[in-house]
Amino acid sequence: ILSIPLMMAAFARTIAVINELRATQAELEAVTAERERSRVARDIHDILGHSLTVITVKSELAARLIDADPQRARAEIGDVETIARGALADVRATVSGVRGVTASGELAAVRRALAAAGVEAELPSSTETVPMEHRELVGWVIREGVTNVIRHAGASHCRIRISEQDVTIDDDGRGPGTHTLAGSTSSTGLQGLRERVESAGGSLRVGTGELGGFTLTASLPAKATLTTEKTGAHS
């Protein structure tokens, strides 16, 4: 009832489909490689571009100040060293397959995640003001805070602010419910984060924030700060 020609046509079709898929595979491979390359590049660029820029301008400033204000020059050089060490840690975290948690790495990751979730992001451009010993902790805060914004907030805007003393994550979503932190047994994110922050000597607060939604602030124990103000050479 079915003819041999029809049968042949069916097999021919199989082969055509296979060849087609093979061809698109090569193409796919190239596209994937390219996409991944630009993704990594974008991360690296976000993470290191800022640090290297600060190193460049601060070292130039230090050189100019050596005679006029050796004290300030020394401070700038000290900053350069601190920032370079932090950047080195960032390079290692980015490179190692088991991706370590760092403030800068998480910042790059949540930038992508928020974009993918269609949430407008207002993020600091860099994390080098965070003292070295708090970078991992700040990374955890960013990771958990933004994961929650994406999962629970129903927000259209998310803002992260980082200073030497604290990190705050705000959104414009539905805000904390009555049950938040009351300890649903399946909710361990914020509890775990609180323990982490407190064991580092800091504290964690949640509540309703300036943007009308949820706010999460981790305060960090104080530490020496980097030089941000302008030169005192003339004063």
Binding site: S125, T129, K230
Partner: protein, 144 residues
């Protein structure tokens, strides 16, 4: 004396650029801001002649700030600075009315020179940024 406004959200860079450019005898830094949406008010209040604008900033980005600034305070010229040239930045900045576009790590003597040239009505485009921008497929700048 050229009155300069510096807008960059990265406080460490802003502070160092301010200190470096303040060392120039003919440049005075009259305002510093860390957000794009504070540029216009600060430029007006400080009567700045030139605004050095970073691109990626909270509030509005430097390119949008440049457009607002050219509209609101036409006397103030714009020099864009950036860490890297992402596709489209250069062309969009020029369309927004910027007079110059250089990388942020430009040596300060050259940066000061760029500020002077922009203040005097010239255009300044970093050749490496122009090349990068071209490599990424932007159409070349049309000079008009």
């Amino acid at each position: 004396m050229i009155r300069l406004l510096i807008a960059d959200d990265q406080a460490l860079v802003r502070g160092a650029l301010t200190a470096l450019l303040s060392l120039e005898t003919d440049i005075e830094v009259v305002a510093e801001v860390g957000r794009g949406d504070e540029v216009v008010d600060a430029a007006r209040a400080s009567a700045a002649d030139v605004a050095l604008l970073d691109i990626e900033m909270p509030g509005i980005d430097g390119i949008a700030a440049a457009a607002e600034l050219r509209e609101a305070v036409p006397h103030c010229r714009v020099l864009m600075v950036t860490t890297f040239g992402r596709p489209g930045y250069l062309v969009r900045a020029m369309q927004a009315g910027a007079s110059g576009f250089v990388v942020k790590d430009t040596p300060s003597a050259q940066l000061a020179d760029a500020v002077r040239r922009v203040a005097n009505g010239f255009r300044v485009v970093d050749p490496s940024l122009a090349a990068e921008s071209l490599a990424q497929g932007d159409s070349p700048l049309t000079e008009r």
